[in-house]
């Protein structure tokens, strides 16, 4: 396959500059291997089946610079500011203790930045085979490790805030997140990826989630990065017997974003939800690519993703449910619905089922449509100005999907952002 025009060489240079600062140990060798493999593969192009709708051309304009030190920031923006939480803040990929507040952890709970575990070989996996995940293996410098022992239930959510400060072109950060929940343990993890500045930057996150039998994780990811940022996130999730992975993703930011999620329902009775929403405007491109493997009996998956696209925005939804042989009594449902608010907005939606068992229930669907003209007129006839009426209808379209967000305390925030989104997007478009 022809290689991408986006060169891997500057990233090799970034690695060389970084190498001296990385610890010795077994991971050092793995990093070298990952870099070699990454260079061999090159960045994906639209000729790769799973990247068919997402071109990385704009990445060519970015020459990565090694993060020397974390820029100054007085205070990180706080989601759920009034809620007690374990808070970790990262600025340009690096943990900032003075902005964080780990709070008090119960016995058997471990939450720490990765800086202290950079020689831990278990942080990376051979199953991470994509170019961006390999690049992250070579370059990761920080991130978080969350581990709960058997039976530990965290009452307070863990809130991870990743702040990108892009004052000069070339930020290239590769944080890593590992969440390991022991048997029957429970946690809520909220990630917020956001930023300041108008320079080109790359955020390349890799996460792994392992849920042992009976564990439950509520996982919300809110991405509101700046328009010049390319945000790539690859997540691998394994769900054990009777364990539950309930996730909700919100994509509002970044010029180009790609969320690649691979879930493996490994144990009998395992279930997952990959719900979420995307609100994109201008020339934003947002890609959500997921694969859910049903590998055991009585496993359940649900994926409901609804979004709205304005301006020339483009959305990509690729969702695949794979039912492995023997995974009888699987229940898998996937739905993608998009509201197109302009003639130039585009959605490429590709739900797929691959079923190798005979006693299963699976369904998938995709719809795309415009705002209801009758509803718009009805609201305007009652005095509500057109722009506000459109915003209300967008909010209404998203109302049911927002109800699926497992962190109830965040739903108001999400409704509020959904309500404001259209007005802010049109203002930006008018200013551009």
């Amino acid at each position: 396959m022809a290689k991408s025009l986006v060169s891997t060489e500057p990233y090799a240079a970034q690695f060389e500059a970084l190498q001296a600062a990385l610890p010795e140990g077994p991971l050092a060798e793995r990093r070298l291997q990952a870099l070699a493999r990454f260079r061999e593969l090159g960045f994906p192009t639209t000729r790769h089946e799973s990247w068919k709708y997402t071109a990385l051309r704009s990445l060519a304009g970015l020459t990565p610079a090694a993060a020397t030190k974390s820029p100054s920031l007085d205070r990180a923006p706080a989601l759920l500011a009034d809620t007690p939480a374990h808070r970790l803040v990262f600025v340009n990929g690096l943990f900032r203790a003075e902005l964080s507040d780990l709070g008090k952890l119960p016995q058997g709970a471990f939450i720490a930045p990765l800086t202290e575990a950079l020689d831990d070989e278990t942080l990376i996996s051979d199953e991470e085979s994509g170019a961006f995940a390999l690049l992250n293996q070579a370059l990761f410098q920080d991130g978080a490790l969350i581990a709960l022992e058997r039976g530990v239930v965290l009452d307070q959510p863990i809130i991870l805030t990743f702040v990108s400060i892009d004052e000069a072109d070339g930020r290239s950060t590769h944080p890593r997140l590992a969440i390991r929940l022991g048997e029957n343990s429970q946690a809520t993890v909220i990630e917020h990826h956001m930023g300041y500045g108008e320079a080109l930057g790359l955020s390349n996150l890799v996460s792994s989630v392992d849920l042992a039998a009976g564990a439950k994780l509520d996982h919300v990811v809110l991405q509101t990065e700046q328009a010049q940022v390319q945000h790539i996130a690859s997540r691998r999730v394994t769900v054990g017997r009777d364990a539950t992975y309930d996730s909700f993703g919100v994509t509002l930011g970044a010029g180009l974003s790609r969320n690649e999620i691979e879930v493996s329902l490994e144990g009998t009775g395992a279930s997952c939800a990959l719900d979420g929403t995307y609100l994109l405007a201008g020339t934003q491109h947002g890609d959500l690519t997921s694969t859910i493997h049903h590998r055991a009996e009585h496993t359940t998956s649900r994926e409901t993703v609804k979004g709205a696209l304005a301006g020339k925005a483009r959305g990509v939804f690729q969702g695949k449910i794979v039912v492995e042989p023997g995974a009888q009594k699987t229940d898998g449902r996937m739905m993608n619905k998009t509201l197109l608010l302009s003639d130039k907005a585009e959605i490429d939606s590709k739900p797929e089922l691959e079923i190798f068992a005979d006693d299963v229930q699976c369904a998938h669907g995709a719809t795309a449509g415009e705002l209801d003209a009758d509803a718009l007129f009805y609201l305007r006839a009652r005095g509500i100005p057109e722009e506000r009426a459109r915003a209300l209808l967008v909010e209404a379209f998203l109302a049911d999907v927002i109800e699926l967000c497992p962190v109830e305390a965040l739903r108001d925030e999400l409704r509020d952002r959904a309500g404001r989104w259209l007005a802010e997007a049109s203002q930006e478009e008018a200013a551009a």
């Binding site: 209801d372 003209a373 009758d374 509803a375 007129f377 009805y378 609201l379 305007r380 006839a381 009652r382 005095g383 509500i384 100005p385 057109e386 506000r388 009426a389 209300l392 209808l393 909010e395 209404a396 379209f397 998203l398 109302a399 049911d400």
Partner: protein
């Protein structure tokens, strides 16, 4: 208050209104009756500003302002209210949110401050009680899953809350049983006032037994074919529209 002069209008280049004249003064209740296809709904949509209707001749003045120059929301701000024949279902927007948005939008248009949310909800519950509407109604999404009667009652609730200068009721009786019709008519009658005009558009005389108009007009062939008092409605009920339709065709 409302002056319609020699109004000609087309829908997809097809002439529907062909020289309609009508004047409403404050306090008056006018009924427009007519056979199907006479242009009754076209008139209501033109007055409220729906897309797809082109005025080719004539003018419409509301309190001296050229109504055709205004967007639908501006017309609502000026005090025009259309009670829809088919109220639209809007899943996801709670009725109370919708009503508050509408009231505040109209207040903003008039340069008034936003209404106090608590006072508004209190007033809203009182209005519901008056109209025989269950408070649960306010939490439900606008018209979503409502019965025909509930939808029309919701229109009356909006009418009461928005207190317009001119209320246009488009086939408000359609789809209503006699009890619902009576409730809706009571709601409308309670809104009659010396400062407010009403235009009732209807195919059947039935509604006019409950909301007695001051003037009745027959719309046929795109213009007012006859005008009179309430007795004209009874005549139409007894004799049908054949006379007017025949005259128009001739």
């Amino acid at each position: 208050m409302l002056e319609i002069k020699n109004l000609h209008a087309t829908v997809e280049d097809k002439p529907i209104l062909k020289g309609l004249d009508l004047t409403l003064r404050p306090g008056e209740v006018h009924a427009i009756m007519g056979p199907n296809g006479a242009g009754k709904s076209t008139l209501s949509y033109i007055l409220s500003g729906r897309d797809g209707y082109e005025v080719t001749e004539g003018e419409v003045l509301f309190e001296g302002k050229d109504l055709m120059e205004l967007e639908p929301e501006e017309r609502a701000g000026e005090g025009i209210f259309l009670a829809f024949q088919y109220p639209v279902e809007i899943p996801g927007v709670p009725n109370s949110t919708f009503l508050k948005e509408a009231v505040n939008a109209v207040r903003k248009y008039k340069g008034e401050p936003e209404i106090d949310a608590l006072a508004f909800m209190k007033g809203l519950r009182e209005t519901c009680a008056k109209l025989g509407i269950d408070k649960e109604f306010l939490k439900r999404s606008v018209n979503t899953g409502f019965s025909g009667g509930e939808k029309k009652r919701n229109e009356m609730l909006q009418l009461s809350v928005l207190q317009p200068k001119l209320a246009i009721l488009d086939e408000t009786d359609s789809g209503l049983d006699i009890d619902a019709l009576r409730t809706v008519a009571d709601g409308v009658n309670a809104m009659r006032s010396p400062d407010r005009a009403m235009l009732i558009i209807t195919h059947y005389q039935r509604l006019l037994d409950y909301i007695v108009p001051d003037h009745v007009h027959v719309l046929s062939g795109g213009r007012i074919a006859a005008s009179g008092g309430p007795e004209l409605a009874h005549k139409l009920e007894a004799e049908g529209y054949a006379d007017f339709v025949a005259k128009d065709a001739a």
